[in-house]
Symmetry: C2
Subunit: 211 residues, 2 copies
């Protein structure tokens, strides 16, 4: 998505140097993908090995000064999630952004993620509903392909903020597919105001960083 596939991770005195996406080095990345020799190599690792690498990604990467560290986890409540929460605890993480799709079968899974956050003392910054409705680009009629409103209902029941719904958007998919800058190239796309509003909500929840 960020056109960084195949980039190499180098070593410096203070640890692994993350991969920079842009010339200004405004976004730096670390992923197990950068450590594999071939892109189709399977990471057939059991929990302890995954947990050890996640801890290294926090402690052994020369992150420098960061405004935000975003950890994109797989779904579930297992080794990866426990390892990330444990490794980040000393840095007092702002919390979890919990993403669901609208239908009951996803909301059920995500409800268990909220239980996980409560159990591990991780604050829930809010719930986002993704794949929430699709406006046909041909006739402009909206279809709720995966039902609608499950994310908002979940947030209400769990007593956590609801941050917004992101519609299905072929232009967003295409941007991610081709590594294009969605914000620059598709400002009129239906997902744009949804994502901008969620970003504002997150910034508002972390006022210290706005100074």
């Amino acid at each position: 998505m960020l056109q960084a596939q195949g980039r190499a991770v180098h070593q410096c005195d203070s640890g692994w140097v993350p991969v920079f996406v842009d010339q200004e080095q405004s976004i730096s990345l670390m992923s197990v993908g950068f450590l594999l020799e071939r892109p189709d190599e399977a990471v057939v690792w059991r929990g302890p090995k995954k947990s050890a690498l996640i801890k290294q990604f926090v402690s052994d990467v020369a992150w420098g000064e960061l405004d935000y560290l975003v950890v994109d986890t797989p779904p579930g409540t297992s080794d990866e999630h426990m390892a990330a929460v444990e490794a980040l605890r000393p840095y007092r993480p702002l919390g979890a952004l919990v993403v669901t799709t609208p239908q009951a079968v996803s909301v059920g899974d995500v409800r268990r993620e909220l239980t996980f956050c409560r159990k591990t003392g991780l604050q829930v910054m809010g719930v986002v509903e993704n794949m929430s409705g699709f406006a046909c680009p041909h006739c402009a009629e909206c279809t709720n392909i995966f039902s609608r409103g499950g994310g908002e209902e979940l947030a209400r029941l769990a007593g956590v903020p609801f941050l917004g719904s992101v519609p299905l958007d072929p232009e967003l998919s295409r941007s991610l597919e081709e590594g294009r800058d969605f914000i620059q190239e598709f400002p009129k796309s239906p997902a744009f105001p949804a994502l901008a509003s969620i970003a504002r909500e997150v910034l508002n929840a972390t006022p210290a960083l706005l100074c």
Copy 2:
């Protein structure tokens, strides 16, 4: 999806009795969900505990005579997948049905699943492309929300059968959401011929069971 939430698992002389979906007992289920006390309980388990339960689901459930045992795994190539492959090896599994969505970022993940199958000696029965295009129910125009053709291309490159594409279909989502019988109620839905054709391909690949 099968309206079995909240059902209990009982014990008999030959092990756990699976949950039956219908009166004819044509579909039986086992899931960690049946063993939880509350539906929002998080299964915060590390790999070894998950692996042990998966082995029990194969060896300690009174499955009886089955035509097919379908193991629905999470994405990835980790403890769950290794445990399932190991537990089922003595029963000579037919193979893996590998499901992807069309876009490159998913196909990349699934390519690693194919490597996992090769490494563990699991035959790949074929690749299915899910969420493959959406025909607007208002104007009938088709939009490839998540790109298109990634699954077929992956199968071609990996030299494994391509079993078909399942379009995004609000009626299929609604059936799963409400536990309705999609085959009975929505035979004219666009996902129906796609799923029926994939099922035929799978049956054709397992001729012994058709007698």
